[in-house]
């Protein structure tokens, strides 16, 4: 389960940054870049809180 959550989180981060590289290289349209970033955001915040544990003070 943890592995799946981490996979989702890192997919979210990849969708945040990789589309901008593709826009920079003129491979991807700007609108698709913003859509993919939104998907990446949902994946990151939907999965990272469940495995990024923090020791209590």
């Amino acid at each position: 389960m943890n592995l799946l959550l981490k996979l989702l989180s890192f997919t979210g981060l990849a969708l945040t940054v990789v589309p901008s590289v593709l826009v920079f290289n003129d491979v991807l349209a700007f609108d698709m870049h913003t859509t993919l970033m939104a998907v990446g955001m949902i994946l990151w915040f939907g999965s990272s809180p469940f495995w990024m544990k923090e020791k209590k003070l």
């Binding site: 870049h33 020791k55 003070l57």
Partner: protein
């Protein structure tokens, strides 16, 4: 809501007192990861969207910006590691309770009020930044560079919604703040980078080789906007160094670093400096150039990264406003010891939200940040001397506590005279506020030693012959 539920909420909130008035116990100390996450999150914040853009507006050149940020941020990390962290680890107290021992209750209270008000202004700027993004879907007119007063009822309502949410999270305690900052940082940092990368083709950069020429000719041109002074390499160095002067040299991060297992954890501030105050400032400069001079962070981020950009601005403002309101709450609580922390934080959040309605603060953020560090710096110098060097100078440390006085005149005069002399240097010699912190620290150190010698000599007990 029944009475049981209200009692449970009250009881839960009262349990969030976090060793404000006593040394942190060994079992509660934290490791590197907590501080790296905290610093990275706190310094990749909403204000980075504004500061990077204001550097562009002040006409800094590309070379001056990059070199100035490297040098200035390095000096800031050294200040955290060699000034603030050793004292925090040694005393394990918050700044406010350490000051009480040195300065006495009355002077510490005056300092705490000034400190807390400054923190409220800073947190207010973060809330303003977050509100520029929250207001986007409602077509609320955003403030411009020359706006000082609230621009509409819609703007005020937006600020209040953001301020309320941030205050509720701050009330829940530092644990929640650190956790939220930890989770948000990796994504937030990548949004800064991705947004800047995606707008570069619009500025004429289509390969890595194009970046530097475009940076010099279209982004950091060396030409300030009308009415603004031109920033040099030295402005960038001193701004980057002193942007968080209140926190490192001014010692307010004792509140955070008292949880550190060892002083070397002060170096974890590098995560904040080089991710936030280097890459994020550079990114926001690029975004401003791409937005043809617009300064409202929400709009800039939305234009370059869509919904994710706007959400990033909200979260970036949030993760910095939270610890700042938390610190302000601690400062106010020292003045109102009978109040529970959650009540103090609630009122702090309300005051901060009212301040956030005025865009003047954000539009003059560089000057305010420099002023805020300068005003609080002399007491940081007092704490450093008192804790680290007073015994070696044959002076009594924690003088107020040992003598049972409520106002240490040596510390009070050091604070007042240092700021007066800094004002004199500013007015008479024309030295800009960004540079005053350095001479000011040495003035404060000298004054505190001399005045303490005089005070402690006059307070020596008279010894009569047997």
């Amino acid at each position: 809501m029944n009475r049981d539920l209200l009692n449970r909420i009250e009881s839960r909130l009262n349990r969030t007192d976090e060793y404000e008035r006593e040394p942190v116990p060994e079992s509660k100390l934290k490791g590197w990861r907590a501080f790296l996450g905290m610093y990275a999150g706190e310094h990749t914040a909403g204000t980075e969207f504004v500061i990077g853009a204001l550097f562009v507006a002040h006409g800094v050149s590309a070379v001056d910006l990059v070199l100035g940020l490297i040098v200035g941020n390095f000096l800031a990390v050294l200040s955290w590691a060699f000034l603030c962290a050793p004292i925090a680890v040694k005393t394990k107290l918050t700044l406010y309770w350490q000051l009480r021992k040195i300065c006495g209750g009355n002077l510490a209270n005056i300092y705490n009020i000034v400190n807390a008000i400054m923190f409220c202004f800073l947190a207010g700027a973060m809330i303003t930044v977050a509100a520029t993004a929250v207001g986007l879907p409602f077509n609320i007119p955003m403030p411009e560079l020359d706006d000082w007063l609230p621009t509409s009822i819609g703007w005020i309502a937006t600020v209040f919604v953001v301020g309320t949410v941030i205050t509720i999270v701050a009330i829940a305690g530092y644990d929640y703040v650190a956790r939220f900052a930890n989770i948000s940082f990796p994504w937030m940092f990548l949004v800064f980078v991705a947004a800047a990368l995606a707008v570069l083709p619009g500025l004429g950069v289509t390969s890595a080789a194009d970046f530097w020429p475009v940076a010099k000719e279209r982004i950091w041109t060396g030409e300030p906007l009308a009415g603004l002074t031109r920033f040099t390499f030295w402005h960038v160095v001193f701004f980057a160094w002193f942007a968080n002067m209140a926190m490192h040299i001014g010692m307010s991060d004792m509140s955070i670093l008292r949880f550190a297992k060892k002083w070397q954890m002060g170096f974890s501030s590098a995560a904040g400096m080089f991710f936030g105050h280097f890459f994020a400032w550079i990114s926001s400069g690029i975004l401003m150039a791409a937005a043809a001079g617009a300064v409202a962070p929400g709009m800039i981020a939305y234009n370059s990264a869509g919904i994710a950009g706007a959400v990033c601005v909200v979260i970036a403002g949030w993760t910095t406003a939270n610890p700042t309101i938390y610190r302000a709450g601690l400062a106010f609580q020292a003045v109102t010891p009978d109040w529970k922390r959650w009540k103090v934080t609630l009122f702090t959040g309300l005051f901060t939200t009212i301040i956030a309605c005025f865009p003047a603060l954000v539009m003059n953020l560089l000057g305010f940040v420099a002023l805020y560090g300068l005003v609080l710096m002399p007491m940081g110098a007092v704490i450093f001397m008192d804790v680290m060097l007073f015994n070696k100078l044959n002076l009594t440390s924690n003088y107020a506590e040992k003598k049972g006085i409520s106002f240490n005149i040596a510390a009070g005069l050091t604070w007042f005279l240092t700021l007066t002399l800094c004002l004199f240097i500013n007015l008479h010699f024309g030295v800009e506020i960004f540079f005053l912190g350095l001479p000011g620290w040495f003035i404060a150190v000298l004054l505190y030693i001399i005045l303490s010698k005089l005070l402690q000599r006059s307070h020596q007990p008279i010894e009569y012959p047997k």
